[in-house]
């Protein structure tokens, strides 16, 4: 899902920067309004940024390709509005240190992973309408949030890539390869969905306050 430099046209990269800038401003604005002391959430955001950074190194072979963990859903569930800036920092570190993704596409990548993370957070926080202390509701919403965050991100990335394939390439072959890669994210979505359920149920048992910290 990390689109590298040189793949997208300049207009798409610039649009990504504008959109990411807008969502970052919105996130910071909401954080400022919601939290009395946003500094309290920085340790949590910092540790999850590290987890997001390392997750991209864990590759899962899905023949004929291989994919890696993303953790955008978990970020949204745990961090709420903090998820977008945390993903932005994680993507910057991945691009600079491992050339994973790219600096010109950091805006696009932040939108592809960060916006589904925010939506995942909103979906998980709808638990207050169904019973925030019920184990089954927490588990179900945690799975759906994380699963849909990956599927939405992969689907949007595939659409963007398909509509920007350069004419000099074999378009049908490249389109088929993109569809295969997007489909390979389905096992990742399932794995991350189960992982998020485990994390949420664990936190619900030992420290439920960590799941109630923000009101997305």
């Amino acid at each position: 899902m990390h689109i590298p430099d040189g793949i997208l046209p300049v207009s798409a990269a610039l649009s990504g920067y504008v959109a990411a800038g807008g969502v970052t401003w919105l996130s910071l604005n909401r954080i400022k309004k919601i939290f009395k002391n946003p500094r309290e959430f920085i340790p949590r955001a910092s540790l999850l940024t590290a987890a997001f950074f390392v997750a991209s190194m864990i590759h899962i072979p899905v023949p004929p390709t291989s994919v890696h963990l993303i953790l955008s859903g978990l970020m949204g569930v745990i961090l709420g509005w903090f998820a977008f800036p945390a993903i932005l920092v994680g993507l910057f570190l991945q691009a600079v240190m491992f050339q994973h993704g790219g600096l010109t596409t950091i805006g696009v990548n932040a939108c592809l992973m960060g916006i589904p993370a925010l939506l995942a957070g909103a979906l998980f926080r709808s638990r207050r309408y169904f019973g925030a202390d019920r184990k089954i509701i927490n588990g179900l919403l945690a799975f759906l949030s994380s699963f849909l965050a990956i599927v939405t991100g992969a689907f949007t990335a595939a659409l963007l890539l398909i509509y920007t394939i350069p004419a000099q390439l074999n378009v049908s072959a490249e389109r088929a390869a993109i569809i295969i890669l997007a489909g390979a994210h389905l096992p990742v979505a399932l794995i991350e969905g189960v992982f998020t359920v485990m994390v949420v149920l664990f936190l619900l048992k030992v420290k439920p306050a960590l799941l109630e910290g923000d009101r997305l």
Partner: protein, 155 residues
């Protein structure tokens, strides 16, 4: 009677030899028309791998000559090992660009071609697994430090 039979056999043999000779003549003529020459040339071999180490099998290669950076000079497909071999046009020295792309992933490298059939690839070196682990640990340590800093109690 016996003499006549020998004559017939002899005639048959001669006619068969004549027919065979007529059949073989054009073949030998074609064989003489082939001229195979083998000259060693300085080819360039590309290996394209994902950062997981998996070969970019089926990756689309696009090569641009230095004097024509917009129109591809050559396009091709990587084999199962992510390999592609081509011979640059040594009459067009300069910085050649080679792009490999597969499923929205790809990279570009530059190849310096000189008229003396010597080429130099300018490419960022790949990180070893150990280097990656150390770099990841550095980032994790930085994140833990940030977390500890912001979780300290004032005063």
């Amino acid at each position: 009677m016996n003499n006549l039979m020998h004559k017939n056999i002899l005639l048959n043999c001669i006619s068969m030899i004549c027919v065979l000779s007529m059949l073989l003549l054009p073949l030998s003529a074609i064989a003489h028309g082939v001229d195979i020459t083998a000259v060693p040339i300085n080819a360039v071999e590309i290996y394209a791998l994902f950062d997981s180490g998996q070969p970019m099998a089926g990756g689309q290669v696009t090569i641009y000559a230095p004097d024509e950076p917009l129109d591809p000079w050559l396009t091709g497909i990587c084999d199962e090992e992510g390999r592609f071999i081509f011979v640059p046009d040594y009459s067009r020295p300069g910085m050649w660009e080679i792009k490999v792309r597969l499923a929205g992933h790809g990279d570009l490298i530059r190849l310096e071609v000189t008229a003396a059939e010597e080429s130099v690839v300018s490419e960022a070196g790949r990180l070893s697994f150990l280097q990656k682990i150390i770099m990841a640990l550095v980032v994790v340590w930085g994140a833990v430090g940030t977390a500890l800093y912001f979780s300290r109690r004032d005063g």
